[in-house]
């Protein structure tokens, strides 16, 4: 007999069973994890340059966090093949979009992407074909509607495709922006310009739809305002900033205002692109300079070449051979008469030689087979970027472990076919991309495999806060440098419109310098000693020191501490700070 009470008692049990059934059904109904991957700007990439990497994860079925493994196969059946493997730190934990930047090596073969869980099980795979959309040289990128001569310059992207890290623009020759991008995209764009990028803002009188504090810093005009040109077109007007210029005159007024920002270039169209006739657009296209990637590879390699080879001298070894030969001859001659005395004398003599030359060849003379020169270039304006370059020369084929320090680390297991390629390294810094090219042997160590004897240079790009800030008061003719670096900069210069002066070493604090630079840049480099001359000469080729106020500071060229056995590692920090009006 069933009572109402009994049915009430069974109700929770029924509900529980129902919940379990529903949960079981929903789990079984849940599809396998799938990923959708996009590399490059609509697939447009350049070999040996970074490209944006976007991945959408659906129906994530992993229990914990997962990471992404990207394999790029190089070569073909007719020549040596190898695979470059990149691993994403464990960041994928649910459905969603993930983005970062990825170096592209040789996109002739499909790029394999896999989502791998903590147990090493592949949850989803994808293959990206880039053969048809690869470029050999950097290409123009268009954001927003633009008339045909410009639109035809390169692929266009949507707001979602604009990368968040500046080095993802590595393959871009010129970035054309004609529509307001999401505000979060501006820092990456500005940092890319600081590192040598070329930006054209095709806003015209619609500038105020774009306006932002970062853009104000990039703009070649101050006090922007809307005005009417003599030909009746609405245009963006303003005061040219020091170092900025106007060009492409049309209808009695300039169509373009441009200037250098950091190592890069910013231009703005003063009228709407649709209001400009095609011939003027063609003229604008040839006026815009191409982006040039800022690189310290040449400096790093030159400083590496200057490093002293650590080894015992040949003369010492020759002395040892001679002393051993003479000693043996002497004891043999003496031992002819008394054999045991000869043996004892030999033992004593060679023991003495062992001790003497053992002391001579102390640890300071241990042969170093790996020489590494790390340079960190910090370029600072309102935003900061850091480019770490590690050049190393290996005199033998070996595998070594390195401490996982903040300094630049070489990548691991360089494939043989990459011998002539520059290798990109991703540092596991919080501000940098989480990609790591390498293999951590232990939590604090990384393994480097040197596949062949020779020179290699690695790059690591990151964004950073501005540890130095240079404020210029043109009216009072002085500049104030606020420095928050922990290290002491021993070689420092203030450069004002192409003329420079050496300033005393600085450390953390605030320093006031008069704007009274007198020496020509060339003589400034010539007077510098050590690595400074080389570094300054190279920086002068990459930065427009002839315009504006700049501070250049170099740290001491210091050895790695603690010393690494069999390796000579040196590090140099270089700060290039662009002065901003107070």
């Amino acid at each position: 007999m069933t009572t109402g009470r009994n049915s009430n008692v069974h109700l929770p049990l029924r509900l529980l069973i129902l919940s379990v059934l529903v949960a079981t059904w929903s789990v079984s109904a849940r599809g396998a994890t799938s990923i959708e991957v996009q590399i490059g700007f609509n697939g447009h990439v350049v070999p040996e340059r970074y490209a944006p990497f976007r991945m959408r994860v659906r129906d994530y079925a992993g229990t914990g966090t997962s990471h992404v493994v990207v394999n790029q196969r190089l070569g073909n059946e007719w020549r040596d093949t190898s695979t470059v493997r990149h691993e994403l730190a464990p960041v994928v934990s649910c459905d969603g979009s993930y983005s970062t930047a990825l170096p592209i090596y040789e996109p002739l073969n499909p790029i394999a992407v896999a989502l791998v869980d903590e147990a090493g099980e592949v949850l989803a795979e994808a293959s990206v074909e880039l053969r048809e959309t690869r470029h050999l040289d950097p290409f123009s990128l268009v954001y927003g509607p633009l008339p045909s001569p410009i639109a035809a310059e390169g692929p266009s992207v949507t707001a979602a495709e604009l990368p968040a890290s500046w080095w993802a623009f590595d393959a871009v020759r010129t970035l054309w922006i004609s529509a307001p991008p999401p505000p979060e995209s501006w820092p990456a764009v500005a940092q890319w310009v600081l590192a040598g990028g070329s930006l054209v803002l095709a806003s015209g009188p619609d500038y105020f739809r774009f306006d932002s504090p970062i853009l104000r810093a990039l703009l070649p005009l101050s006090n922007p305002a809307i005005a009417t040109r003599p030909d009746g077109l609405l245009s963006l007007d303003g005061t040219l900033k020091p170092g900025a210029s106007a060009s492409v005159l049309h209808g009695g007024a300039p169509l373009l205002a441009h200037w250098s920002y950091g190592a890069g270039h910013v231009a703005i169209l003063t009228v709407r692109p649709t209001d400009i006739d095609p011939s003027a657009l063609d003229e604008i296209l040839v006026t815009i300079p191409e982006s040039e990637r800022l690189s310290m590879a040449a400096v790093s390699e030159a400083l590496l070449g200057e490093m002293q080879v650590v080894r015992p001298t040949h003369l010492t070894a020759l002395l040892l051979v001679a002393a051993s030969g003479l000693g043996l001859g002497a004891v043999v001659a003496a031992g002819r008469q008394r054999r045991w005395a000869g043996v004892v004398a030999t033992s004593c003599l060679f023991a003495a030689l062992t001790v003497w030359f053992g002391f001579h060849v102390n640890r300071a003379n241990d042969v170093s087979f790996l020489y590494r020169m790390n340079t960190s270039l910090h370029v600072v304006a309102s935003l900061g970027i850091q480019i770490d370059t590690s050049s190393f020369y290996s005199a033998d084929v070996a595998q070594r472990e390195h401490p996982f320090a903040s300094e630049t680390l070489p990548a691991q297991a360089t494939p043989a076919t990459l011998a002539r390629h520059p290798i990109y390294l991703f540092m596991p810094q919080p501000t940098a991309t989480p990609w790591v090219y390498g293999h951590a042997a232990a939590p604090s160590r990384i393994v480097t495999s040197v596949a062949e004897i020779g020179l290699k240079t690695f790059y690591a790009f990151s964004a950073c806060a501005s540890p130095l800030r240079l404020t210029v008061d043109h009216a009072d003719r002085h500049a104030v440098l606020a420095c928050q670096t922990e290290e002491r900069l021993i070689d420092c210069w203030l450069i004002v419109d192409g003329r420079g002066t050496r300033v005393p070493p600085i450390s953390a604090g605030t320093f006031r310098f008069p704007l009274s630079a007198t020496a020509m840049l060339g003589s400034l480099w010539a007077q510098a000693d050590g690595p400074a001359s080389l570094v300054l000469g190279h920086l002068a080729e990459q930065f427009p020191f002839q315009q504006g106020v700049w501070f250049v500071g170099l740290s001491e060229l210091r050895d790695a501490y603690p010393p690494l056995s069999g390796q000579e590692v040196r590090h140099l920090d270089i700060y290039v700070v662009r002065g901003e009006a107070s």
């Binding site: 051993s324 030969g325 043999v332 000869g342 043996v343 030999t346 060679f350 030689l353 060849v361 087979f369």
Partner: protein, 223 residues
Amino acid sequence: MTRSDSVLSSGAVQGYFLLLLACGAGLLFSIPTGSRVAQLMELRWSPSPLSFHLTYVTLVGLLGTFRGIAAAGWDRLKWRTLSKLLGHILFGQAILLPYMFFSRALLPGRELVVPLLIAYTMLVAFMLALVALRLSLWGAARRSHTFLLQYALVGLLFLVPWALGLVPGVPSTTALLSPIGATREIAGSAPAIELLIAFAFPSVMILVQLPRLRHLIRRHHAV
């Protein structure tokens, strides 16, 4: 038959001089040339730091063979002959000790390699000395010259297992039977199991030779 050879006899001393000079040349050769890294880059060639150690193990091995052949011609074959052979090899090692300490600079961070190499080379040289002695006695009994055979065997021992170890499909541990392969592994801080194999081979060979030599010594005394 000659009298038992002293380490300071003219025949032995010539061998030691050659050993000193050849190992000295190996030592000079293994030090990189160039005072700046740019010069190393220009040369595009750097001698292996193992050049000296390979020369050392090969020449001390040949010294063992050389003394083993000589021991067959000494007065009477006794157990003391073996200890004298060992003494000759030790003397060779002693005069190379300054070189070995100097060569520590070629293997930075690998402090144990030098004593391990000395111990290993000692075993290899003694093994080769015993084999040479046995072969010489075997040849003498048959009135045939074994000189070329001895050095051909040394060459085979040094080269064949090492070359086989490089062939795909052949276990790489085969190379450890060759003093060349073993030296490379010891200098490269090989794992303990590989070190064990490297040391086990000459040790076992010595232990195998000793009963045979005891038999020969007994027969020698009986004659």
